[in-house]
Each structure stands twice: as structure tokens, then as C-alpha cells.
Symmetry: C2
DNA sequence: GTATACTTTACTAATATGATAGAGATTATA
DNA sequence: TATAATCTCTATCATATTAGTAAAGTATAC
């Protein structure tokens, strides 16, 4: 797994919306200001996140974006997988992989499986509610850059 | 972290040399056959591994490659880092990173740090001696593909 | 009806990835 | 000493990914 800028922006976007949760729509412009993201790039990412059912949008004046579900129902792992792809470090770890002569004899595969499991175990168990709480300890609504 | 073909080939190359350890040089041609790697690509990888002091070479007839140290002295993490770069999923996790306004306020950074620590903890503690033993249980000297 | 805000599609520059090509240097041995 | 086997070095290339930019369109509150 590698976190790209797109993935990073997506996470920060959802965190921004989570911090704003319950207070109506938040515009692309405001989200972009929050973490210094290029607005036209962010537009695309928000459309992706909408297709992934992470966010909803409202058009027109007084429009903007909202989380499609409470922050407690969104975890880091699912967002990263949706935006940046599988958490596994290699393709052969996925259950439906067919590129190998005899996959069960490979001494590396079980290791990549273990790496993937450790990563998933961590990221799938951190919700944006957890991050909101953590962020409030920093006494700031500001989301920072990688 | 993402394992590229180059990284995968490098690991399989070192495993092939580890399985052959103590029996003199092993040619590029034989290494390539072992895991079905493109020979000209492998040449480059071997030169990299030589610069990284993982392998040594002997030129001319009866030449070939050998491990520069015993399999027990080479671990997976150091090879992957050398060939494919840092195990960290994002750049901001490295200790000398300066791209952030206030890195300590970022709720994500500590999470990426934890991902990196879990991965390192696993890969830095598996040596090629471990893999040789494991491979022998498969009753085969063949190294498979990702 | 107009300003505000999301939507869609197309395009682009830079870099990484996974190779391939070919000429050159070294060495054992016949 | 000729030569075959082997490593060494540099260049090139096709494709995909990444990180954007641009421009025209649609919906809605007021």
C-alpha cells in the first residue's frame, strides 16, 4: 500500500466533513481551504467519494457536501481502498489471483498476506469519529498536509 | 509500501542465491530460469544488489553471483527498502520530513507511523535463512512468481 | 433570472515502471 | 593466445500512474 495525494486529500476531506457533521453542507471551496488542496483536483475526488457513497451533495446556492453517514460508520481502511486501491503490497495476495504457477509454494506470499492483515487490522478499526475526538484534543479544526 | 516487480525479482534472486549458498557462483542465466525473470532486467537488478552489498560477482568463465554475506545476515526489510524505497506509506512519516506546517498536529501522521512500524517489525525480522528453511519444507528449490 | 455551487469530460506534464538493445570488459581454459 | 562464457554499462522505449488544469454544463435558492 502506498497513500497517494489523492488518498491523503480524500481522508482530509472526510475528516473536514466529519468535524462539520450535523451543521449542513460544506462547500468544496471551504473544504479546499481547510487543508490547502487544489480545488479542481478536489472536485474530482469529491465526485469519487460520492460514487463510493461516502458523501452526498446538494447543488445550487446553499449547496455543498455532507457525509452520507455518521463519522462512526466510516473507517480509514475503506476510504483508502476505495481511493488508492488494495491495502495489500502485491497483487498475488488477493483471494482471486491467478497469475501464479503454484501460489501455495511461494514463501513470500504468506508474508505479504501478514503485512496486509496487520495494515487492515489497524486501518479498518479506526473510524472518523475516533479522528474527530483525537483532533479536538489538538484544539484545532485545521487539517494538515502530508 | 508497494512491492514492484523489481523488488519481487530482487527478493527471489537473493533467495535463489541463499538456497545455493556455499556452492560457488550462480550465473544470471540460472537465476533467471529459477523464477522466470527477464534476463536483461535481472542484470540491472543484480548490479543494484551489488551496489547495495547484498551480492558479489565473479566475472569471466565460471563466473556468476554469490551472496555477499550469509543468508542469516540479510533480512527482507533491508532489501525492499533498498530496491523499492521506504516501507512507510507516506513521506511525512520519515524523521527528516519538512513539508508540513505543523506536523505534530496531524491526526493521520501517527497512524502512518504505526503502519510503518508494524510492517518494519515484521519484514526486518525475517532473514533469508528463515526463508531457506521454509522453502525446504516445500521440498522444492523453485521460486515462484507474484 | 442570476449568482452560487456541484457535474462532467477532456487534456496535459512529469515521473515511475518494466522492460529491451547493444557494445564493452574480464577471466578460465583449451 | 584465442575464444567462449560471463558480468558491466549506457541508452532507449512503451505504457501506466500521478497530480493536476481547463472549460463548458446542470441544478437550485433567492
Amino acid at each position: 500500500m502506498r497513500i497517494t495525494y489523492k488518498g491523503d486529500y480524500a481522508l482530509k476531506t472526510i475528516l473536514a466533513l466529519a468535524l462539520h457533521y450535523g451543521n449542513g453542507p460544506f462547500t468544496i471551496h471551504d473544504i479546499a481551504k481547510n487543508a490547502d488542496m487544489p480545488i479542481k483536483f478536489l472536485e474530482q475526488i469529491l465526485l469519487d467519494l460520492k460514487r463510493g457513497n461516502f458523501v452526498e451533495s446538494k447543488r445550487g446556492k446553499v449547496g455543498g457536501y455532507l457525509l452520507a453517514k455518521p463519522p462512526s460508520q466510516i473507517n480509514l481502511g475503506e476510504v483508502i481502498r476505495f481511493i488508492d486501491g488494495p491495502l495489500e503490497p502485491v497483487a498475488c495476495v488477493s483471494s482471486d489471483y491467478k497469475g501464479c504457477k503454484d501460489i501455495n509454494k511461494c514463501v513470500f506470499r504468506s508474508i505479504w498476506r501478514k503485512v496486509a492483515d496487520l495494515t487492515s487490522g489497524l486501518l479498518d478499526n479506526i473510524t472518523f469519529e475516533d479522528l474527530v475526538k483525537k483532533n479536538k484534543n489538538f484544539n484545532s479544526s485545521f487539517v494538515y498536509h502530508i
